[in-house]
Symmetry: C2
Subunit: 348 residues, 2 copies
């Protein structure tokens, strides 16, 4: 009746049997309500059309009958494929794709989400979140209002990166920045540093707060542990500032700034780490042009992506209980920019 190559749809079955698609659906799902009766001849006609055509249920249709669509939504607040050379999302997406493949799910990127004030919105008039069984949220700063609404809706989601509670605990797979920074502080103290400085990027994000918390907690025993908020000052001005403060080690949240600072230090004849140790709290293994091996830590972005999908799959299944929050350890990167302070320099 139909050629083997053309895919048969429920619509075709309905047309062939001369009934509505809903009727086909009722027959397919073998439903018979007290309120809806299907004439036996009608049922027979539908079954015959199915047999004639070799119809196989459409996955979309199947989702309505079964529970899951095997689609994992991926929401990024900015384009997932940015045009800049530094590709922020790529390692996360690599891990997400790998695990999605493993669990046999497709990935749905919500590129249709409208952009408001330069950022996409999860919730909008034509909310398409439910096309997916659950959603992975990616972004340095995630809107608290949207997290609260996701929690209220009970829609399965997992944030990549730790998030503060938003009307309830937020399921996440993050990196343990506090511990990673703490470890670098302990290493500095062990090297003999007593006057520390911390240069933040001035972002109101959990990833920034966690790093600074790790610094504060572990620098408690130092003589000085000054916080310099990211005010966009020139590296040279900062070097003057650090010198006036007699700081011998600076913790720099943004890797690109650490690169600029090291260059400025070298230009004025300062030895790194002899005269000044520079530790980066970004990821020195991510490609920013620099011929210097910076001391810092590696953020397990790929693994965060993989585990976020794994956690989401658990949440969608509904089998898992308890709070879903996981912090992965960051691998230290030894580098060459942290060493003992120069005892020959009189900094008093």
């Amino acid at each position: 009746m139909t050629s083997a190559s053309r895919r048969v749809t429920q619509r075709d079955i309905a047309r062939l049997a001369g009934v509505s698609q809903a009727t086909v659906s009722l027959v397919l799902n073998n439903r018979s309500d007290a309120d809806v009766r299907i004439a036996p001849e009608t049922r027979e006609r539908v079954l015959q059309a199915i047999a004639d055509t070799g119809y196989v249920a459409d996955p979309v249709a199947r989702r309505l009958a079964s529970r899951f669509n095997r689609i994992i939504g991926v929401f990024t607040y900015e384009p997932a494929f940015p045009s800049g050379t530094r590709d922020f999302y790529h390692p996360f997406l690599l891990g997400i794709e790998e695990y999605a493949e493993r669990v046999g799910c497709d990935l749905l990127l919500f590129t249709s989400a409208p952009v408001v004030d330069g950022r996409r919105r999860v919730f909008h008039q034509d909310n398409r979140l439910r096309l997916a069984d659950g959603c992975i949220l990616l972004g340095r700063e995630i809107d608290g209002t949207e997290l609260r609404r996701l929690n209220a809706d009970g829609f399965p989601y997992v944030a990549v990166g730790r998030r503060d509670d938003a009307g309830g605990p937020v399921p996440y797979v993050g990196a343990d920045y506090a511990e990673a920074v703490g470890q670098l502080v302990r290493m500095s103290l062990a090297h003999g540093h007593r006057r520390l400085a911390y240069l933040s990027v001035g972002l109101d994000a959990e990833s920034s707060a966690d790093r600074y918390r790790g610094f504060q907690e572990h620098a408690a025993g130092a003589e000085s542990a000054r916080h310099i908020p990211g005010t966009g000052q020139e590296p040279d001005t900062l070097l003057d500032d650090l010198h006036a403060d007699r700081a011998t080690v600076v913790f720099v949240e943004d890797f690109a700034y650490a690169v600029a600072l090291e260059l400025a230090a070298r230009r004025r004849g300062l030895a790194v780490p002899g005269d000044l140790s520079i530790v980066t709290l970004g990821d020195p293994t991510v490609a920013v042009p620099s011929d210097v091996a910076f001391t810092g830590f590696h953020i397990p972005r790929e693994e965060m992506g993989r585990q976020a999908v794994r956690m989401l799959a658990d949440l969608v299944d509904g089998g898992a209980t308890g709070v879903h929050q996981r912090l992965l350890p960051c691998e230290p990167v030894e580098g060459e920019t942290l060493g003992p302070p120069n005892p020959a320099v009189d900094r008093s």
Copy 2:
């Protein structure tokens, strides 16, 4: 009855009204077949539950009623986010995402497709293609059998890159490699080169065939235009070969090989382009570590991605007619590796 924040589903309506989901669907779509009768009280109960809950149709459900889901499928034969440093798909995906955003579509990456012989398959037992309204195919080599089946099924799709017919014309947005290579050949002839060599990668792909066709057609007036198939020989062996052949310019399909060849030439004291001009037919603007500015052309990958989505949207709409095949021009990259042959060198 239900809280405003929780999203109401067709399932909820069915439960509240005490009927099946198919019945809800019949009521929603206002169908009344001769063969399926809905008791007026039942219909009333369903409508009341809809009014009580403020139910809004789910987009998946809506697709079954309306024609489009506003989902564009993206099929890559290998992972879309490869772990290598050279990210083949990224510029294409950038363009695809940009245009999808513009037309308000989400992107579905078919990561659930099973991998056979190291490559994903479009068609398999649990074919999920129809979750999307249409599909973009990405990959250097696309399986002809799968293209034939897509054509036979009448499923809207667009290939990125020119493809030979497969049971009918294949809709594509490609790059005009024949013309780009032809232009480089004409430039070489204008510089005075008469003995040309062509080093292919030995891939059985349209993109390779088009490049070689451009070479052949335009090198017709040369004294010699030799084709050296990519046999994986060492750059040094190839240099000997070119020397024996008295070739003064070599067209290298693979950019990484052009980089290796230039290095080998420099090591043996050959001047490029003085002693040997090296032209690359890959994309010298894509990051491969090299401090040499190669002559070649830029492949408009982003624009190919954008236009593929645009073409697909036209195909899905069904308004457009005719064959959908478009080749975009490649921008020449002047570089410094093509120049006049050295007249002082006796190559006879």
